[in-house]
Symmetry: C2
Subunit: 353 residues, 2 copies
């Protein structure tokens, strides 16, 4: 299905990672970037070779910043061969599709969106494994051919990702809900911490750290992304504002029952997020272990935990001020928590609960 060559336009983190994954699969990769230095760097990393005039790619992957997408997709449709498929990997899909509406080559464009990335950028942070097991949304518009869609899906599979088929509009609604609005809300909460009194902030625990973590991301990039999904984000934000009004009423009005049912609805929501390997989420339990500040402690802890045979689902290390002893929280499926706890205690670890 995907035989190559694959041209990458925009050799940043995502573009170069896709290039490396394609090279890992033995495909020929051509590199293009408005900054020649980036092409040289990506080439040096083994991501491919600079595109030559007479190259005819099977697939062009447009991986440029959100603002440039529409124009670069159109140019790729112009410049490529009559069979060349074009995709982009931007975080929102309806806008770029609309920007190339009416283009004679429209049937060869299938937008997509790999759900991966870090706060780093640039080719030096790239990796062929970036997409392993991640969802990769495939979002053909109404004019795209099935053959073009299959080529883009094949790219996702070559990169080790899990294709998720959605229309562009459905995709944008989905990421408003699973990414953009959570980011904005985290930012609003974090904004209340800036400038707060230090002795107030001293009472911070893991909860507020978790809620606000994602708000540490680059404001310029996220304002581009969120603005590009304004309609879906505004719709969902309006819904949240209504619930916030209900919460405020319940709190200010002493409506304990109303407040509890709102919190119960939120608790149900946390159980809706998919679990490991796409299985239905299982009830988890945390085993908390005191970790003395000595070298090799974590390795010994995981060696002992490994001996228990209980699968470790997640780990958190707690760093509240003044703690001479670290606290490691190991999440496991609930009905195996006691088993893990016993094994650790029998090896001399102090567990909390």
């Amino acid at each position: 299905m995907l035989a190559g060559p694959v041209e990458i336009v925009g050799t940043g983190l995502i573009g170069t990672s896709i290039a490396l994954a394609c090279r890992r699969a033995g495909l020929e990769v051509l590199l293009t970037d408005s900054t020649p230095d980036h092409v040289r760097t990506a080439t040096g990393l083994g991501a491919g070779r600079p595109r030559a005039e007479d190259d005819v790619p099977q697939l062009v992957v447009v991986a440029v910043p959100p603002d440039a997408l529409g124009g670069v997709i159109a140019r790729a449709l112009d410049a490529a061969g009559p069979e060349t498929v074009v995709t982009d990997v931007g975080s929102v899909k309806a806008g770029p599709l609309a920007a190339v509406g009416g283009h004679p080559g429209l049937s060869r464009y299938v937008g997509s969106h790999p759900m991966a990335g870090t706060e780093h950028s640039g080719p030096l942070s790239a990796s062929a494994e970036l997409f392993d097991g991640r969802p990769w949304a495939i979002t053909p518009g109404p004019d795209a051919t099935p053959a073009a869609t299959r080529v883009v899906e094949a790219l996702a599979l070559v990169c080790g990702a899990v294709p998720v088929h959605l229309s562009p509009v459905e995709h944008d609604r989905a990421v408003a809900r699973t990414s953009h609005v959570p980011h904005l809300m985290a930012s609003l909460v974090a904004g209340t911490l800036a400038g707060a009194a230090p002795d107030h902030l001293a009472l911070s625990g893991t909860g507020v750290r978790d809620v606000t973590r994602v708000a540490g991301g680059d404001p310029e990039l996220y304002s581009q992304i969120i603005s590009g999904n304004a309609s879906a984000v505004a719709t969902l934000l309006t819904e949240i504002r209504e619930r916030l009004d209900l919460a405020l009423e319940a709190v200010a009005g002493g409506d304990r029952v109303g407040l509890e049912s709102l919190l119960a609805y939120g608790q149900a929501g946390t159980r809706a997020i998919p679990g490991k390997h796409g299985a239905a989420p299982q009830p988890m339990a945390a085993v908390r272990v005191a970790l003395p500040d000595q070298p090799g402690g974590l390795a010994r802890l995981f060696a002992d935990a490994g001996d228990s045979g209980v699968n470790i689902e997640d780990v958190r290390i707690d760093h509240d001020p003044g703690r001479p002893v670290g606290l490691v929280e190991i999440d496991v499926v609930a009905d195996r928590a006691e088993e893990l706890r016993s094994v650790l205690e029998s090896r001399g670890w102090a567990t909390l609960s």
Copy 2:
């Protein structure tokens, strides 16, 4: 300062943990609970002995559910000796203080609040280490004597905690900001996930998991706590609603600059949260490592990471659907990330960035 005996009223998770910490320090501990079985269990755990009629504690620690606090504090002030100090460990401080206003023994009451706990409850989940390095707010009212305050501070120190002195009203404002409002906002976001389409939820990543994690807590308990801090919570929620309105305007109105400055303010807020051991927060960087699904993998990873000499600040394990290979994210101080990455790569680990 704290010589004992210490009486614990309410041998649940917090009360029994305090009891165990006091026993760890060699203090005599007396146990009281409205449920005799809980006293027996706590006694069996080595947390102390049942209080007898003629006992005269130096300090009484009231650790009952929020709704019962006022009454039990008053009864403790009545029943104890003329010098006995009384504290409670509830999550909000102004309400209980007001509930005992006018009591002749008021000068012997100093509220406090250890910032610790888990989603578990009951004496069997208790541990003497629960408070190690955690903040413990000390919140004397205007009538409390300095001597009584020092006794309660000594309790926090015996439990290994870090005392933070605040007035009851300041405490309640602080935890509204660092705990109650973040919890409510996480709940509002999580509520938008309940009932969402599975193919939309398939696009969930670590961001939304972090933002909504705390919303998994018990709705009944948190509705008690938040209702008990209604005034401070409502004030802060109103402020957030105003910012939400500004965010909605910026998004719906295409005001990219306004949106970016809101996100920048949130980013600044994430840097306000205290770092390890109370030091100023340091810039962190994440080293992401592919973890094949084999036994002993985590132990080997941490053994190799330990050999690098780079201190591990936090760990996250990523479980997106379909991932056959786990992704471990190791947070270290930013200027040592490359060092850790090189060591891991030299040991054969595949790192992402």
